[in-house]
């Protein structure tokens, strides 16, 4: 029997890991693959159009959307300002309901806890519903590689995530993990698992997936979810899906493990209404997802299903160091994906180009914040600063301002490189001195005579080649505006 063990393709996993460390100079280079992939481009463009169109409709029809957005910001702000208190409250509430709480400083801590738990339970299968936090800490791979004696099979149950897992690839979009694959590709991947040729028909492929994954749901000893929100007041975990897999993995397996970033907390149960109204509307254009599930502890007295044991892993992994800093707002993210959908850079480059768990504008911000500037040097520069992300964000995170601040941080840390530092110092000196500025203009006009041709500057070597390889550069005008002003325009 073929298992659902993911195809451990060395190159794709390594390509992603390589992506993270080669972020020093690689974004533009890596983008070439995506730019050349017209199918990917069209898929992303269509997804964005649908998701944004939906979002505009359902958010635009909410009478108090602007108030919700501000309230969401303030709730998150309040939470982060008192995160220690809310974490304690959450832990107490979960424990009072019979759950277990574990504080994981980093991914290794979390994974070790899961491994120990799996060992104690003799678990062989973990059925997972989608969790960005577990991808961030590479839970699947590390459980398999670092604890091979456990013989654990970790199965993603979100349809797109499962298919990506089978292909040995990483998801390329927070909401649509396999946007980058067409149905033939999916058919090929699933045929490999089925042991027979499946047609590239969405209904047939879905039927197969339902059947195969059903087996995993029923056999798994551990069900694992992330959490869209965690309510400190009551110890409630909220998960949101369209497929029903989060509800299934928390109803059938006897043990439920939640891996939740500490920034997912909100203070009160009533605060959920602000976020439940914003999340789906903003991310998928639905008023609410098909399954919005609220779990408070393990099963209640008298229930015959639902987990018997519940474990909440609170994950820090670099989040706490952002508290109280100018970057704290990056923690307010509810992972809706709206910023990806509006980003013109994401549209061309796709998710994999970012080389990180989190892509798009939020990815460009959070990756250097969690992993350090050196690890993600290119990402803050992978933006034209158009501001569409800040506009779309339902929590009001000023993403494009944070990108600017990250660029500034790089400069202050000396990561900008000598060439740029010298260039911009020169820029400052020139622009502070009208005389120098005038001279530069004149000098430029003389210099360009060498490269100007038919009123345009064609391919140049050196730093400007980035431009001139694909675009014409207009020449400096024979007379500047200042000269024209002085020479007659002044007097009309």
């Amino acid at each position: 029997m073929t298992t659902s063990k993911p195809a451990r393709k060395h190159d794709t996993e390594d390509r992603r890991r390589e992506g993270i460390s080669s972020n020093r100079e690689g974004f533009n280079q890596r983008s070439r693959k995506a730019i050349g992939d017209r199918q990917l481009h069209d898929a992303v463009a269509l997804a964005s159009k649908n998701l944004i169109g939906g979002r505009n409709k359902v958010l635009g029809s909410l009478p108090d959307a602007p108030e919700l957005r501000e309230r969401a910001y303030r709730i998150k702000q309040e939470t982060m300002a008192n995160l220690d208190r809310y974490l304690e409250q959450m832990a107490d509430a979960v424990e009072a309901r019979g759950g277990n709480v574990f504080f994981a400083s980093d991914g290794e801590d979390a994974i070790r806890y899961v491994a120990d738990l799996a060992r104690r339970k003799g678990a062989k299968i973990i059925a997972k519903s989608k969790s960005m936090a577990t991808e961030e800490i590479e839970l699947n791979r590390r459980l398999e590689e670092d604890y091979p004696d456990l013989g654990l099979e970790i199965v993603e149950t979100d349809l797109g995530e499962w298919i990506a897992q089978l292909a040995g690839e990483t998801p390329s979009h927070i909401v649509g993990p396999i946007l980058h694959m067409n149905r033939q590709r999916v058919a090929d991947i699933l045929s490999g698992v089925a042991g027979e040729k499946l047609p590239p028909d969405v209904e047939e492929l879905t039927k197969f997936a339902r059947k195969r994954l059903r087996e995993k749901f029923l056999a798994a000893e551990i069900g694992m979810t992330g959490a869209n929100f965690g309510v400190a007041e009551t110890g409630t975990i909220c998960t949101v899906t369209n497929e029903g897999n989060a509800r299934l993995v928390t109803s059938v397996p006897p043990v439920h493990v939640v891996v939740m970033g500490i920034e997912k907390l909100i203070p009160k149960f009533d605060d959920l209404s602000t976020f439940v109204q914003l999340l789906a509307r903003s991310g998928t254009g639905q008023k609410v997802t098909v399954y919005t599930n609220f779990i408070t502890g393990p099963r209640a007295e008298g229930e015959m299903d639902g987990a018997e044991e519940m474990h909440l892993i609170l994950l820090d992994n670099g989040r706490s160091k952002l508290l109280g800093t100018e970057f704290e707002e990056a923690l307010y993210c509810i992972r809706c994906g709206a910023c990806l959908n509006v980003c013109p850079v994401y549209r061309q480059a796709g998710g994999h180009t970012y080389g990180s768990t989190y892509s798009g504008p939020i990815g460009a911000v959070i990756t250097p914040l969690l992993k350090g500037d050196k690890e993600a040097k290119d990402l803050p520069h992978a933006s034209s600063l158009c501001g569409a992300c800040s506009e779309a964000c339902p929590v009001g995170i000023p993403l494009h301002d944070l990108l600017l601040k990250l660029r500034n941080r790089q400069v202050n840390e000396g990561l900008a490189g000598k060439g740029q530092s010298v260039a911009f110092k020169g820029f400052e000196n020139t622009m502070r001195s009208p005389a120098l500025y005038k001279i530069s203009g004149k000098a430029g006009r003389v210099a360009q005579k060498v490269v100007e041709k038919d009123g345009a500057i064609r391919p140049l070597p050196g730093p400007l080649s980035g431009w001139t390889n694909t675009r014409d550069l207009p020449p400096l005008a024979p007379k500047s505006f200042r000269e024209l002003w002085k020479k007659g325009l002044k007097d009309g």
Binding site: A81, E243, V288, G302, E391
Partner: protein
């Protein structure tokens, strides 16, 4: 091994006055041209519920009494050629009285209670799941399902067809209203699910697939 105190130390209270600065961008959601849409209360919650459910691909019907509801369930079982129906073990559904007639039609009826052997297996084999609901939300067409004795979660999840029979006076208007009710009640059940229409996914080429893990065939009867 992570130390709780050590963990908390890193998180310890750091105040910061954030500046919420909405963008000036004329986004349709945050910065409206003209007056915002009306904040009208929903006049006919049950009608609105049925509309919203239909819009997401569910089947909703207002029926006047339990007898009508019963015939609906019987008809559905016939149409789906069901062999096994699994229902919640709650008084309301006993009073619905479908067990006898279904069995007469050759449909096995299983009841989710302590007497049910191999409940997981039964739920996986069932063609239709039948439950009631604690509440319903008109604004979104959502059922509000609470777990509890006799109220199996997988009854509403594993079978490919699912019917909920709900007294019409349980239809609330909005999501905030529903959440406020639980917030004020003080004690939150171990499980609450807002279930809205058929299970779906757009993962494969953004093409809508129905009934991915949960039921794709969803029916709600509002009784009364």
């Amino acid at each position: 091994m992570a130390d709780r105190a050590e963990f908390m130390d890193k998180v310890r209270h750091r105040t910061r006055t954030g500046k919420y600065r909405p963008t000036h961008a004329p986004d349709v959601a945050w910065t409206r041209e003209g007056a915002p849409p009306d904040k009208e209360p929903i006049e006919d919650p049950s009608a609105r519920f049925l509309e919203e459910l239909e819009a997401v691909g569910g089947h909703g019907r207002r029926v006047k009494d339990l007898e009508e509801a019963r015939s609906y369930v019987l008809d559905l079982a016939r149409e789906r050629e069901a062999k096994l129906l699994l229902r919640w073990g709650v008084g309301e559904l006993t009073r619905l009285g479908v067990d006898g007639p279904l069995r007469k039609d050759g449909v096995e009826v299983a009841v989710w209670n302590d007497d049910l052997a191999d409940s997981k297996d039964v739920a996986s084999r069932a063609d239709i799941g039948l439950s009631t609901a604690a509440w319903a939300i008109a604004e979104t067409g959502s059922l509000v399902l609470e777990g509890g004795p006799g109220r199996g979660r997988i009854v509403t999840l594993l079978p490919p067809s699912y019917v909920a029979v709900v007294p019409v006076d349980r239809v609330l208007s909005t999501v905030p209203e529903m959440i406020r009710k639980y917030a004020e009640a003080g004690n939150v059940p171990a499980n609450i699910c807002f279930h809205t229409g058929p299970s779906r996914s757009g993962d494969i080429e953004m093409t809508l697939a129905i009934g991915v893990h949960g039921p794709g065939d969803v029916h709600v009867l509002l009784v009364g």
